[in-house]
Amino acid sequence: MSEHETTADSEHEPNRRDFLYLATGMAGVVGAASLAWPFIDQMRPDASTLAAASIEVDISSLEKGSTLQVKWRGKPVTIRNRTDKEVQEAKDVQLSDLKDPVARNANLDANADATDINRSAGKGKENWFVMIQVCTHLGCIPLGEQGEFGGWFCPCHGSVYDTAGRIRHGPAPYNMELPPFDLTPGKTVRIG
């Protein structure tokens, strides 16, 4: 610390210089840390990016078996009117057969099961399906109606998803995410 402390350390009483030294040092550290924060925080998504967080999509022309792709927060979101066969196949899967048993549905509890109903738009709207079409491995866009289960297939490193967008094989760790949404069948869906 101050120069005389190195010579006669334990002997001397803390004096005014020691106090000033510590106080200035502390103020400096706190000051530097609080000044550093704006420099880091400016990197995070800005207000305009966050504001563009909600969109409304017309789904009145979406027939059974067809898909609409929209862009939400810079990412593709798939809106699909699933066929009865697809719903049935997804329903028949046992939870124990899934690599990731969690629904990953922003509209439900964080630990809800990945049953088909929890992955769809809900009771009575099982055929409606809204999902962020981004592979949970490293972020590529999987191709629709492809792969072993007729769901999605990611060309990047070969992850295979079923018709409810749940990961079945490959390096991806999780089911693809469902965004927060509010869907009126045959009319509109608000995403975000």
């Binding site: 998504p45 800005d46 927060r73 810079g74 990412k75 593709p76 060309p155 070969g158 760790p173």
Partner: protein, 433 residues
């Protein structure tokens, strides 16, 4: 090494005036003219000089490209095409910059291999080595962000995949990823900040290079025998001997570089990067530039969960570890002998390591299926085994060959077999004895 016995003698009144005020000419003279270097340096020692020139070239071409480039998601791609077609000599400047990055990495990898072969990282050069690894890290960051700038398909999806690595970290991963890209997906904020950092980092590299050379001039260079400089006849002055040797090495290197720039400027690049970025369509396969392929292969080699670490996080950690391990190499190698020339077993392991890196690079360029995955896994195993098992254990069990008493002795014993040549000032080739 340079400062203690300076031989600089200012001649004119003007240089004397300078010397008593800011002795920069003295520093330059002592560092690059009278600076003593081992007399037996071979061409493996010319890459340091080549690297300095490459850094200068990247900065020069980069700064003029920046006069025409526009960092906006709707104009970046067109502005690069505009550089190629409309800007006077724009094609040359861009091809120099893009191929320059490749040759920069080629030189740095050869430079690192030289260090691993001749034990350049051993005491007292640990800090010199660590500064080098810091430079490698900064170079990788710079090249990755530079590759995003032309905003082609590979730029965009490369950026998505690489920043996606960070989402592998539990709890904080998504937060970090958003901090890096400034949004929910790669977009305008990402391009803008990458441009800013791509401009900045090379100057930081230049700063670290100065420290690197400072540390070099404190400890002096190693040499192919690995024995320390003991007497005056062991060294020769940097200029003209090392200067001219470096110049010849550079000329050959730049001839090859020029061949690529003028005759096959797109050979090292990926054709998909001439397609403008499309955030809704992933290319059939994402491959990084060649200089990242070995690391990419190690990333993809981890296809299995390791206890609580899932395959994605495991791959990312493995990839980072593959570079971080270089930092501790000075403490992993337990052998007292510096140069691989006198270490018969290490020499074999070293060349296997080089083959392994090439093999990993090849795996990284292939779609990850079947035998490729297994090969990459074995390659990763040897990569880490070389550093973490072979280096520490071999030093304890290997019986090194007899070391020469001095550099001079090593050089002269070689001379006896090729008598008639003047045992003069020419730097002798490596002693393979």
């Amino acid at each position: 090494m340079s400062g203690d016995h300076s031989t600089y003698a200012p001649r004119s009144g003007f240089t004397k005036w300078i010397d008593t005020r800011l002795p920069l000419p003295r520093l330059m003279h002592d560092s690059f003219v009278s600076y003593p270097v081992p007399r037996n340096l071979n061409y493996a020692y010319t890459f340091g000089g080549i690297l300095s020139i490459m850094l200068g070239l990247q900065m020069l071409t980069g700064i003029v490209l920046a006069m025409h480039y526009v960092a906006s998601t709707d104009q970046a791609f067109t502005s690069v095409e505009f550089i190629m077609r409309d800007v006077n000599y724009g094609w040359l400047l861009r091809y120099l910059h893009a191929n320059g990055a490749s040759f920069f990495f080629l030189a740095v990898y050869l430079h690192i291999a030289r260090g691993l072969y001749y034990g350049s990282y051993k005491a007292p050069r640990e800090l010199l080595w660590i500064l080098g690894v810091v430079i490698l890290f900064l170079m990788m960051g710079t090249a990755f962000m530079g590759y995003v700038l032309p905003w082609g398909q590979m730029s965009f999806w490369g950026a998505t995949v690489i920043t996606g690595f960070f989402s592998a970290f539990p709890a904080v991963g998504d937060w970090i990823q958003r901090l890096l890209i400034g949004g929910f997906a790669v977009g305008q904020p990402t391009l803008n900040r990458f441009y800013s950092l791509h401009y900045l980092l090379p100057f930081m590299i230049a700063g670290v290079v100065i420290l690197h050379i400072w540390a070099l001039h404190v400890t002096g260079q190693t040499n192919p025998t690995g024995v320390d400089i003991r007497k005056k006849t062991d060294t020769i002055p940097f200029t003209p001997y090392a200067t001219i040797k470096d110049a010849l090495g550079m000329s050959v290197f730049f001839l090859v570089f020029a061949y690529f720039v003028f005759y096959m400027p797109n050979y090292l690049g990926h054709a998909d990067n001439y397609i403008e970025a499309n955030s809704l369509k992933t290319p059939a396969e994402i491959v990084p530039e060649w200089y990242f392929l070995p690391f990419y292969a190690m990333l993809r080699a981890i296809t299995f969960n390791l206890g609580p670490i899932n395959s994605k996080l495991g791959g990312v950690l493995t990839m980072f570890a593959s570079i971080l391990v270089l930092f501790v190499v000075p403490w992993l190698d337990t052998s007292k002998v510096r140069s691989a020339v006198y270490r018969p077993v290490y020499k074999v392991c070293f060349w296997l390591f080089i083959v392994d890196c090439l093999l990993l690079g090849w795996c990284g360029s292939q779609p990850p299926q079947g035998a490729i995955v297994l090969t990459a896994q074995l390659g990763t195993l040897y990569y880490f085994g070389f550093f973490l098992i072979i280096m520490p254990l071999l030093g304890l069990v290997e019986k090194p060959r007899r070391l020469p008493n001095s550099i001079t002795e090593a050089v002269l014993s070689r001379r006896q077999t090729s008598a008639g040549r003047p045992a003069g000032a020419t730097a002798a080739p490596e002693d393979r004895g």
